[in-house]
Every structure is written in C-alpha cells, then in structure tokens.
C-alpha cells in the first residue's frame, strides 16, 4: 500500500508528458507547412491528449483526494507539473519540431512498449493502446527527418540545427527517478535509464540514414520531474489553463 502515492505520482509524470506535448503540438494547427501537416500534427496531439486523459484520471483515482482529470490539468500550478522539459519547449521551425518529435516519440515508444508488461492493469492497458499510436508518431517524425536531412542543403542545415537545439533536453528522459525506480522493483513501472540504449539505437539509425550527425551537446540541467521548468512553461500553462480558471465549470 505504500506504493499508492508513488503510483499516482508516476501516472502523473507520464500524463503530464502527454498533456504538455499535446498542447504544444496543437499550436501547429494552421501553422504547419501544409494543410495536410496541420492535420497530421493535430492528430498526434489528439492521440497524446487521449493518453493524458487516461493517465491523469488514473492518477486522480489512485491519489484518492477526489481530483478529476480536469482538476489536475487546469488547476495545478507550474511547480506541480512533472513533465519532462523537452515537451514544454516552445515550438521552433518545422525541422526543430521534427527533431523533438523524433526524440520524444521514440522515448515514449520504448517506455510504453515495456509498460505493457506492468503488473498494474490500468497502466498496462493504457500503454498497450498508446504504443500503437506512438509507433505512428515515431514513424511520422522519422519520415520527415529522413526527407529533411537527406533533402536539400537548406533542409539539412535546418534539421541539424533543430537537433542541436533539442538534444540537450533528451538526457533528462533517461535519468533515474525515485518513483519509477521504486515501482519498477515491483514490476509496476519502467525504470527510465533502461530505455536509453534502445532509444539511442533507433534514433542513431534514423539520423545516420538521414545523413545527419548525432549532436554533441551538453545535457541541460533538467528537473521537470521535480517540478522545475523552463521559462516557456508558464506561458504554455497560461494559455492552456486560462479558460478553465476564468470560467470554472465551463462546458462545450
């Protein structure tokens, strides 16, 4: 029973990753290079939102304080969000977004694939559904990385610059976290460091095929799992939470 708070916290971490990434991706709608790409990124955002809803709802249930998915999404402050910082980075150019999507969806893919084996039935079920969605997200990012990296001189330059900007934030995805570690011992969660190798193998293959170089960048300080966020997070939350806080209980 000591695992309950840890389980709630872990579901919240994964839910926050999906929620914040969904919010960022939503910003692309009407700004992508083509209408078709607006739809593609919007679809990915909706998949992630679905994952976030399931995970936040579960986190609220396990926590047992009566908080709903909406309470958790709209009425927590910045320091209470435990998403990885890579999800909150402001959108750059399209190449940079594809760099982030490649890194992030490859991470989610490895995570969900292993989480399907969780002894926690809900986490296992969410992961089993999500892994199929995320496999498509990863493929979408990989397809674009190949085309931009191995495209024109200009597209290659921009894709490589995007990787360089995003890469410092990839280290955080694989840092040991007390919640994940403790739960992993009981077969409930996935310990983040064990994902690093498979992630790097996949991403390295894509970058190689795309004629791109693995960025030699120092890791950013991180701290998203502890509620420490970049400057851009506050702006994101202001936009995401504004309506719910101004008009509590607003419905469609």
């Amino acid at each position: 029973m000591i695992t309950q708070p840890a389980l709630a916290g872990y579901a919240l971490q994964l839910g926050d990753d999906a929620l914040i990434m969904a919010q960022r991706l939503g910003e692309w709608v009407s700004h992508a290079p083509e209408l078709e790409e607006d739809v593609a990124l919007g679809n990915i955002a909706l998949d992630l939102l679905g994952q976030a809803r399931a995970l936040l709802t579960y986190a609220g249930e396990v926590e047992g304080r009566g908080r709903s998915e909406d309470d958790l999404a709209y009425f927590r402050d910045e320091r209470e969000f435990t998403n990885l910082q890579i999800a909150e980075l402001a959108c750059g150019g399209f190449g940079e977004e594809m760099a982030r999507q490649l890194a992030f969806s490859s991470y989610q893919f490895e995570l969900y694939q292993r989480l399907q084996e969780s002894r926690d039935e809900t986490l296992a079920a969410v992961a089993a559904k999500a892994v199929k969605e995320v496999a498509y997200h990863r493929d979408h990012a990989a397809q674009w990385t190949l085309r931009l990296g191995d495209g024109t001189e200009e597209s290659h330059r921009r894709m490589q610059a995007g990787l360089t900007r995003v890469w410092p934030y990839t280290d955080e995805m694989f840092r040991p976290d007390p919640l994940g570690q403790a739960l992993a011992r009981d077969g409930l969660a996935v310990d983040a460091p064990e994902l690093r190798r498979a992630w790097a193998d996949y991403v390295a293959t894509v970058l190689h095929d795309a004629t791109l170089a693995w960025p030699q960048t120092a890791a950013a300080p991180g701290g998203g799992r502890q509620g420490l966020h970049t400057e851009q997070m506050g702006h994101l939350l202001a936009e995401m939470q504004y309506l719910a806080r101004c008009h509590p209980g607003a419905r469609w």
């Binding site: 290079p33 083509e34 209408l35 078709e36 739809v39 679809n43």
Partner: protein, 94 residues
C-alpha cells in the same frame, strides 16, 4: 509550398471484400508521405483497412464534352441491366 507538393488521389477500402473507393485527394511530397497524409485525413474514424494513393497526374479522365458519345447510348438498353434476377437476401454488396 503547395506549388512544390504534387496532388495524390486517395482510394480507401472500407472492409475486406469491397473495392477501393475514391475518397478524395491530398498533397504530399512523395508517395509514402501521401499514404500517411491519407491515413490521417480519410481513415481516422475507422473508415478503412487499406489505402491506395495514385499521382493525380497519372489519371486519365473522360471529358465532360464527351458525355454524350460515352454514356448516352447506354440509357435505352435495359436488357443490359441485371435487374431481372432475384438477389438472395444473404448476398450483400452485390
């Protein structure tokens, strides 16, 4: 950028046993991306089990000017229509 991305016609098969039916078109830089764009636009409500994409430029279409010579002669030949057979109720999609 639209000038750079060619148009693709999308055909979706909704179930096994049925034919692919024209669903619409998408812009995409190449065939693989066209498949993915088509998946996002035309099959996200479980409409399909298979997708074809064809470059729009590869399609030869009959012209509206040829409507009469092409189609009018078919109008008065009722004996070509298989309407005189009873179709068993178990047979769907005929």
């Amino acid at each position: 950028m639209s000038r750079d991305w060619p148009l693709w016609e999308v055909f979706v098969r909704s179930r096994r046993g049925l034919s692919h039916i024209h669903a619409g078109s998408v812009h995409a830089p190449d065939a693989q991306m066209a498949l993915r764009n088509a998946r996002d636009l035309y099959t996200r409500r479980q409409e399909g089990v298979s997708i074809w994409v064809v470059p729009s430029s590869a399609i030869t279409a009959s012209s509206p000017d040829e409507k009469d010579p092409f189609f009018a002669p078919a109008a008065d030949k009722a004996y070509r229509h298989p309407t005189f057979y009873d179709i068993p109720s178990e047979v769907r999609n005929l």
